[in-house]
């Protein structure tokens, strides 16, 4: 068989909350080893889509294939070894040390009666090194700044050694420096570990700069999907977000750059 091209393929997926329909017959494919951004206005279903990929929510119809296997056929631990998820925010009241937090990423690899081995500790250390958080290792998690906490949570996802990494707005509440740091880290992880990264982003310009593939969601439907040049047009943004923007080109990357403006 040909090497798998799509990490995730969704076909005819329907999902509704008790309050109302979110997806009706959604179809899309996410390429292996690619950086896919999901963008769209609030309430478009971005987080819901990620939650369906973690099986935290279950579709009412349609199929989700992960690595050419129906997601329903994964056991909980198998899924934990295949798909990692970094939530939007982590409740702060966690007294565990950073090392212990990242060690939790080894959970899906451990049997009930198997203790944490030196191998697991090595993997945790590697994850800490990659995210530049080794110096935080003995610090209590609830004492970290948001930027540090975000990197630690990414380290934990790395320790899961999955092929797919999902992130929900990983940079929304960070300052510019930390935003860039996290995005650089994600790009490096994609490159060095051949990870498939799927992330919800609110900042369209960040999405434009780092994505191989962008999904523009609007009210539970994919309005456009493809490269930044294709998806991020003034017209698409006008239709989906309902605002006028000026388009420019980033002088260093030649990628589209969106300039919103405020009328007076």
């Amino acid at each position: 068989m040909k090497k798998q091209v799509f990490a995730v393929s969704i076909e005819g997926m329907c999902f509704h909350y008790p309050a109302g329909q979110v997806f009706e017959g959604l179809c899309t494919k996410l390429k292996s080893g690619c950086f896919t951004s999901i963008i769209g206005p609030n309430g478009a279903g971005k987080t819901t889509l990620l939650r369906l990929l973690t099986m935290w929510l279950k579709p009412s119809a349609g199929t989700i294939m992960v690595k050419d296997r129906n997601i329903q056929s994964f056991s909980q631990k198998e899924l934990g070894r295949t798909v990692a998820f970094v939530k939007q925010e982590q409740s702060a009241e966690i007294n565990f040390s950073v090392f212990e937090m990242v060690l939790m990423g080894r959970y899906p690899h451990l049997g009930r009666f198997r203790a944490v081995s030196a191998h697991d500790r090595d993997i945790v250390l590697q994850a800490l090194e990659m995210t530049h958080t080794v110096y935080l290792k003995d610090r209590s998690f609830n004492r970290l700044s948001s930027g540090e906490a975000q990197r630690v949570l990414i380290a934990r996802a790395l320790a899961q050694q999955t092929e797919i990494l999902l992130l929900d707005e990983p940079i929304s509440h960070l300052d510019l420096k930390h935003q860039v740091q996290i995005l650089l880290l994600l790009k490096r992880m994609q490159r060095e570990r051949n990870l498939t990264i799927v992330t919800v982003l609110h900042d369209l310009n960040s999405a434009a700069q780092c994505s191989d593939d962008i999904i523009l969601l609007s009210k539970g439907k994919i309005h456009a999907q493809g490269t930044a040049g294709k998806v991020l047009s003034a017209e698409n943004i006008k239709t989906v977000y309902g605002i006028e923007v000026e388009m420019a080109v980033h002088p260093r990357t030649d990628l589209p750059f969106i300039l919103p403006f405020v009328f007076n």
Binding site: M55, W56, Q76, R81, Q90, F96
Partner: protein, 347 residues
């Protein structure tokens, strides 16, 4: 993880030693004191294997009966109940991520009190070594937990918030029922109230044996799931994506903790504060790792309730205080002390 296995082994052995010495002291003290060496001789004599090496007959006969039939089962039971309550409390606090949770959180105490008051009013006496009151209390407590769990169930999940709210509502309802039962049977009121305050006054070996089995199963189960519980502290959705079967773990721990809690209530009445304070205090020392929290809570809870029970026997001459009063009187100030001392530390 700063694993210092040697240090933990030392502390656990020390606590174990304190528990054993506590039992000897508890057997010795009382209205008719028995000398320590007599207690130790009687105890050793009845341990199979080494009993043969102890010279018989050089301790008073009264010591044998006093120790073996009255004080020892009571001491052992209070130790085990303390351990059980503290473990169940630790499990509930971890499960609900709420430091105010205790083994009675989901309606165990109210259900048990209602069951007990019905048994007292109906005059159900003994049943297979357990008092009828205990049996009714146990069954009603478990039934209450089941009802609360069903009420909180929805959309394939049990929300811990709904569990807490349903627990509060059902507890309030059942507490009102207990008051109603008391109002309609004023001559039994004193008996019901004294049962709810908790006591080991009528402990028997049968009760101790049954509780020991329940505790062993409950503790091993909880300890086995401590890693899962640790991961669940980060939130249920996160735990789910890390591979934890959240709903299954929640149900298992809830069943184990409620079972231990209900059994504790059945054999000793409602003893407040042990299940709340002990795990909380232990957590301030050990941190949030349940692998340490469970054994430490069990040993300290047992030791605490054993001491409290001895005090409750000795404090007043002629009358025994309900042990629940002692645990609250000592526990609450100690808890406040720890809280103020560790103000910046949180759960």
């Amino acid at each position: 993880m700063k694993t210092r296995p040697l240090m933990h082994m030392l502390i656990v052995s020390l606590l174990l030693f304190l528990c054993l010495s506590g039992i000897v002291v508890a057997c010795s003290l009382g209205k008719a004191p028995i000398a320590f060496d007599d207690v130790i001789k009687v105890l050793l004599k009845h341990i199979p294997g080494i009993g043969g090496f102890i010279h018989p007959g050089n301790y008073p006969d009264i010591a044998v009966r006093g120790v073996l039939l009255i004080r020892l089962p009571r001491a052992v039971l209070s130790l085990l109940v303390g351990a059980g309550l503290a473990c169940a409390g630790a499990a509930f606090q971890g499960l609900f991520k709420n430091p105010m949770a205790d083994p009675y959180f989901v309606g165990v105490s109210a259900g048990a009190a209602f069951g007990a008051s019905i048994a007292i009013v109906l005059g159900v006496s003994y049943f297979m070594g357990i008092s009828g009151t205990g049996l009714f209390a146990f069954c009603f407590a478990l039934a209450t937990v089941f009802v609360v769990y069903r009420l909180a169930w929805g959309g394939g999940r049990v929300s811990t918030l709904h569990l807490v709210l349903a627990g509060v509502a059902v507890s309030a309802f059942l507490t009102a029922c207990v008051s109603l039962v008391m109002a309609l049977n004023r001559q039994k009121m004193a008996q019901i109230i004294s049962w709810t305050m908790g006591s080991f006054q009528y402990s028997t070996w049968e009760e101790t044996g049954i509780f020991a089995v329940v505790l062993l199963v409950g503790f091993s189960g909880m300890f086995l799931f401590s890693r899962d519980l640790n991961v669940m502290i980060s939130g249920e959705e996160t735990a789910h994506t890390l591979g934890v079967p959240v709903e299954r773990i929640k149900l298992i721990l809830l069943v184990l903790a409620s079972f231990v809690g209900s059994m504790a209530v059945a054999v000793s009445g409602i003893i407040w504060f042990v299940g709340l304070i002990v795990p909380h205090a232990v957590r301030l020392v050990t941190g949030p790792d349940h692998k340490l929290l469970f054994p430490y809570s069990a040993l300290s809870g047992g030791l605490f309730l054993l001491c409290a029970d001895v005090v409750s026997r000795l404090l007043l001459t002629g009358e025994q205080l309900p042990v629940g009063i002692i645990t609250a009187l000592c526990g609450a100030p100690f808890f406040l002390y720890l809280l103020l001392k560790n103000k910046q530390e949180r759960f």
